[in-house]
């Protein structure tokens, strides 16, 4: 057993680091906590975990289908399993195992998609996961979560560990500052977090896309006198319809932002609810269009498609006819 590790709410490291630290904290208290990896302990920041808890990390090798099937078998025998693999491979190559062995068989595996979205940047489309929300949303009995900052990550991992249901958590690689210092702004799986409130436009974002949304909201206020509501909709499924309904009713336009295809993700989840509930204000989905992305770093790709402070400001002004 390793030395006592207390994970802390840090500010400004990669969410993946927080995932690893939180998992260490959980693992030392609960021997049923297991990390299962596909030659991914380095990219999953799990090297320290493996050193401290060698009996609680299981290496599968580069075999994602087997990773998920083995994880499901372990979970069915009572283990609290975190199956860790790059999101691009985990949710595509092992999709049938996720559908059948995890979701359909109700084996409570915690699927951890690392380096998600376009985190791998110029490594290209084989390594991008812009489909994961879409494919997993269509699978029954699957919770989908993209924490935005270090606090959300820590809380999501702790809550997932005690959750006896299949869940997918998606993490990027870049350092993420806290969205708010308001300690009363708590985190609960399935409940979106309102970061700022305003009556002009609602910006609903998820994962690493929340930060540029928040930066855009600050600029909209300082430069244009506009008040935006920004929601970190960390749980994409089940979607917090009550919060969506509330912010839609209290604003004049609604914008969704995600590091995912514009097809099948957070935006379309919001759109279908809003349309079925007679929402008629201006609405836009921001994400990656239906194409293999331009070459670049994660930041360059996000900027290229407008998932940035400037892009979100421009889209907001357009929605408000300003």
């Amino acid at each position: 057993m390793g030395t006592v590790v207390e994970s802390q709410v840090v500010n400004g490291v990669a969410n993946l680091e927080v995932f690893s630290n939180t998992l260490q904290e959980l693992a030392q208290r609960d021997r049923d906590i297991l990390a299962v990896t596909s030659d991914s302990r380095g990219s999953g920041k799990l090297v320290p975990f493996g050193q401290k808890f060698p009996d609680q990390i299981i290496e599968i090798g580069i075999a994602e289908q087997n990773l998920v099937g083995v994880a499901a078998g372990l979970a069915s025998a009572g283990k609290k399993v975190f199956a860790v693999s790059p999101a691009c491979f985990l949710t595509a190559r092992a999709l049938e195992q996720i559908k059948n062995d995890v979701a359909y068989s109700d084996n409570p595996v915690k699927l951890i998609g690392i380096s998600a979205g376009v985190s791998y940047g110029a490594l290209g489309s084989t390594h991008h996961s812009l489909h994961d929300y879409a494919v997993l949303r269509a699978i029954n009995n699957m919770i989908i979560v993209a924490p935005a900052d270090n606090f959300e990550t820590q809380q999501a991992i702790k809550q997932a560990a005690e959750l006896n249901k299949p869940i997918y958590l998606r993490f990027g690689k870049k350092p993420m500052p806290l969205l708010t210092n308001d300690e009363s702004n708590s985190f609960q799986l399935g409940k979106g977090r309102v970061i700022t409130e305003g009556e002009d436009i609602a910006i609903i974002a998820t994962g690493e896309a929340v930060l540029p949304a928040l930066q855009a909201a600050e600029k909209l206020k300082s430069s244009h006198g506009l008040n935006a509501t920004v929601v970190s909709m960390h749980t994409i499924k089940p979607l917090d319809y009550a919060l969506l309904k509330q912010v839609a009713a209290n604003t004049k336009a609604l914008l969704t932002v995600e590091e995912h295809s514009v097809y099948g993700g957070l935006g379309e989840a919001c759109a279908s609810y809003l349309l079925e509930n007679r929402y008629s204000n201006p609405f836009k989905i921001m994400g990656i269009p239906d194409e293999y992305t331009v070459t670049g770093s994660q930041a360059e790709i996000m900027n290229h498609y407008g998932i940035s402070e400037a892009g979100i400001i421009a889209a907001s002004l357009d929605l408000l006819n300003l």
Partner: protein, 275 residues
């Protein structure tokens, strides 16, 4: 159960498989008849499972990777008291829990299967959990020879030997036929034994319709300490009903009334011979 009692059980199970497939107007007849002796020996001789305490942490696990032969599993589970046999009259009927593949909605089923190439990974994970927890149970999984080209099987085979899972026993129902024709013609996986041996498994061949050979093989587990065990059960698709034997069309053929009567008559004659 004595060897003769087990022989009679297999005969009874064959008759019930046919009865419920005819009732459902659907089912995987040939494969259910080829694997039924294996399931008979597992559930009546080998497995430590109790319908009254199926959730017991130390129970043996049976995971049916060749899920399409669910009729064999359901008939055995009903006989073991997991649910009333009359439930099987709803097999594949509107709103029934008894669907055409194993589902946990049916008491006694460990995992939902049906897509091929999944059972071995699930079994590896379960066997690994037993090792981590120092639990005495063993994990058994039944594969069809036709599902061996699924690559996930070979991923799982590697992991099983990497972690020295000698509490894992895979059984291959080698009936040598699949829906398109002979497995050798569709995608030849022979020699299966050499492939698994090279993956670090210990392998034994048995006649999959010989109760005594099956018992003996299961009694020998693990076939080698520190290695996962593979029992290659050589079987005949449609076994027990001569006009179905080795005929691809009975992969999921459903007997008509006359064929059903003829099959039951033959099985009754075989039963009389056992008695």
């Amino acid at each position: 159960m004595t060897g003769r009692e087990l022989e009679l059980r297999s005969n009874l199970y064959r008759q019930k498989i046919l009865k419920y497939i005819v009732g459902a107007k659907a089912g995987h007849t040939g494969g259910s008849l080829s694997c039924i002796d294996i399931l008979n020996v597992l559930y009546n001789y080998v497995l430590n499972v109790d319908p009254k305490n199926f959730g017991a942490a130390d129970r043996d696990r049976y995971i049916q990777s060749k899920g399409h032969c669910v009729e064999a599993l359901f008939v055995v589970l009903a006989d073991k008291g997991f649910f009333p046999e009359s439930d099987l009259e709803t097999l594949c009927k509107y709103k029934s829990h008894y669907i055409g593949h194993p589902t946990r909605k049916v008491h006694g089923v460990e995992q939902n299967t049906g897509a091929l190439g999944h059972g071995l990974s699930l079994s590896v994970g379960t066997a690994l959990a037993a090792k981590l927890d120092n639990k005495p149970y063993r994990v058994y999984t039944l594969l069809g020879d036709g599902e061996l080209p699924e690559g996930s099987n070979w991923e799982a085979a590697l992991t099983a030997s990497h972690y020295n899972l000698d509490n894992l026993c895979a059984i291959i129902d080698k009936n040598s036929l699949q829906i398109t024709g002979s497995t050798a013609d569709v995608c030849n996986t022979d020699p299966i034994d050499e492939k698994f041996e090279s993956f670090g498994w210990e392998v034994e061949h048995v006649n999959g319709h010989s109760i005594s050979e099956l018992k003996q093989a299961f009694d020998s587990l693990p076939l080698k300490k520190g290695k996962p065990s593979l029992i290659i059960a050589h079987t005949v698709k449609g076994n027990g009903v001569s006009f179905m034997e080795n005929q691809v069309k009975w992969h999921h053929g459903v007997p008509d009334a006359g064929q059903y009567e003829e099959a039951i008559k033959e099985l009754e004659q075989k039963k009389a011979a056992i008695l």
